[in-house]
Amino acid sequence: MLGLFGTLALGTRALSAQRQGIETAGHNLANVNNPAYTRQRIQLRTSNALPTSIGPVGTGVEVAALQQVRDGLLEARIASEGSVTGYWAAQQKSLQYGQAALGQEIDRQATGAEGAAAASATGSPLGLAESIQTLFDGFQSVATNPTSIADRQALLQKAKSLASKFNLTDQRLDQLHTQLDAQLADDVSDVNELLAGIAALNDDIGNAEVGGYGAANDLRDVRQEKINALAQLVRVDTAEDAVGNVTVSINGTTFVSGRERTDTLALYDAGGGQQLLRAATSGTALTLTSGAMQGTIDARDGALTTLRTDLSSLAALFITNVNAAHSAGFSLTGSTGAAFFTGTDASTMAVNATLAGNPSLFQAAGVSGASGDNQTALALAQLAQTRHAGLNQQTFQQHYGQTVAALGQSLATANEQSSDQSAVTRLLQTQRASVSGVSLDEEMADLLKFQKAFAASAKLITTVDEMLDIVVNLKR
């Protein structure tokens, strides 16, 4: 038997439980657009029954816990797939910069003399392929008209344009390298901040949960969000211990343990200016497989470095071959032995300034004293079809084509992986939204449900009140 006062207490407990339900629905509704939020639910249970002669009598309802609807496995998947997504996205971005730096495109409308004129007037992008071929065409023109100053001048102009294109491309790739290093440095400080944040949240969560007052749901949401952000940048392994601390380790080195950040990430020079990652305190070099930082490193040290060295060796071989043929020739004034290009690689390549100032000095003839001779110019023109041992038995054009295709292949792979990965991520996000997301319809229904129950509990209290009134008025 509860008695009337006991029933009144039951009503109060019920009121407070329904109010808690309304509050939670309100909290959920308020966070409907918070992407890190995990919906919460109140867990109701019957309060302790009173043992009586007729058996245990119910004493109403009480709130057992505020529970988060979270799928731990799904969260872990999201974090680890986030690393892969970050990896390919970073590769894609870096390689796209590389592609832009190279500036090689196909413009079919620039075909033929008329098309080329129209295209160059409207700013068509011409890459190294066009410049190399144009230079060889220039050699051909001079070979056809060895004494024509106009053709010689045009040739030197083409050579200058090729040299500056090589210079510019190399310079752009060099800048890109520097920018990627700067990007890595930014990422490192982001990672360290996130690690510190996770350690601080471990502390907060431990403090909040220490009295056994249930889980610190909202703090856990924030921590999970930080772990996901961290996983985008670098692949991490996380594990939660019995007291709710998350241990974070990267490649086997622990970075957050308990409530402390035990180590920080740092860049170091692995030799030749190659910036790689290591743990600052323990000094362990980190070998990573995924995460945006590794994506940047792999693109930088892989396709982009290959691109740059390929272009530079192409330029070097180009300079050597052209100079060897040219210096044996004779100019219109009879001079011989001059180099056509100065410099040794893509960054230093330039047309011999003496030649550029005086086109007559271009050494087209193969014998001295015969201005109409074109053997050297012809030999230079025919370099276009020579296969070079240094380029794996390919011509200059073919080797350049291979270089372009190799970059394209890397980028195409990154594009493909990136779009696959975004499909996976989308799927996981959808699953997460399905499990943990807030549904307005559900919350409105809950609101309605708890409101009615609140009203009913209030009615109980009124009823008991009236009953008490009757009891009090029994004696007049």
């Binding site: 390689l95 409308q109 056809t144 053997q375 012809l378 319809d441």
Partner: protein
Amino acid sequence: MRVTNNMFPDRLASQLSTLTARQNRLQDQVATGQRIARPEDDPGAMRRVLDLQAESRQAEQHQQNIAALKEQAGVSYSALQPLRRVSDRASELAILADGTKSPDTLKLYAIEVSQLIQQAVQLGNTKYRGDYLFAGTKNDQPPFVLATDANGLVTGVTYQGNTSTAVTEVSEGMTLSAQTVGANVSGSGPRGLFTDAAAGADFFNHLIALQNHLQAGDAAAVNATDVPALGKDEDNLLFHLAQNGTVQARLATAENLASDRVFATEKLISGEADADLAQTLVRLNDTQNAYRAALQSGGTIMNLSLLDFLR
């Protein structure tokens, strides 16, 4: 599956962004007419197109080379024709100068021959684009220098060109020359136009001998030595006319080859790089319809919730 509120806008946003990206790409293809433009689009095709474009540009350059050679051969021909008339007239005079002519007549003939020699020297010094056409590769100075005596008779013609010709590429690995050297006394190498040891031709010296014989009134020598000598020169000239014709024919063939090559590579490049306009437009239309439909349905669904029906 439990579907929550934010799944609609998230999904719609991602679908719309995919459709926009596709429309953008298709629009690009329609505007440029190309299926690929950047290396990432199709690395293999990109490489083949770069190689083919180099080949096609090379063939275009060969066309330009051929055009220059044709011009040169044409100019040569127009110098060879009048030269032939000079040679004809000289032979005619040599035949006319028989024993029946008086010494005075022969002297008049001698003056005409000396005029013919000067005319031939002028033709031998024909210029094409600032270069002397019959000087071999030493073409920056007149190949033939004329020496005359006080009476206006020619005493000698010296050749100061050389015996090399410059060859030009007309297709990959094939070179051709439209040049003719003025004189070749060595008997090897390209055949000389006026003097050629191998053919026994020595036009100027033969003409000078004729002129001198006529001046001296030696009709017998004219008949015995000059007439057969001039015959050899005539043969040599005919050889050069024929050779000029051959070169022009070869150039015509090479030109056809080069333009065929340009067309053939153009076709291959088109196969690799060009977009099928009809296909692309149909795809673009599809994508636009999907985009419109997604907007329409998204707008309708997102407007509805239980909220609209609770009071």
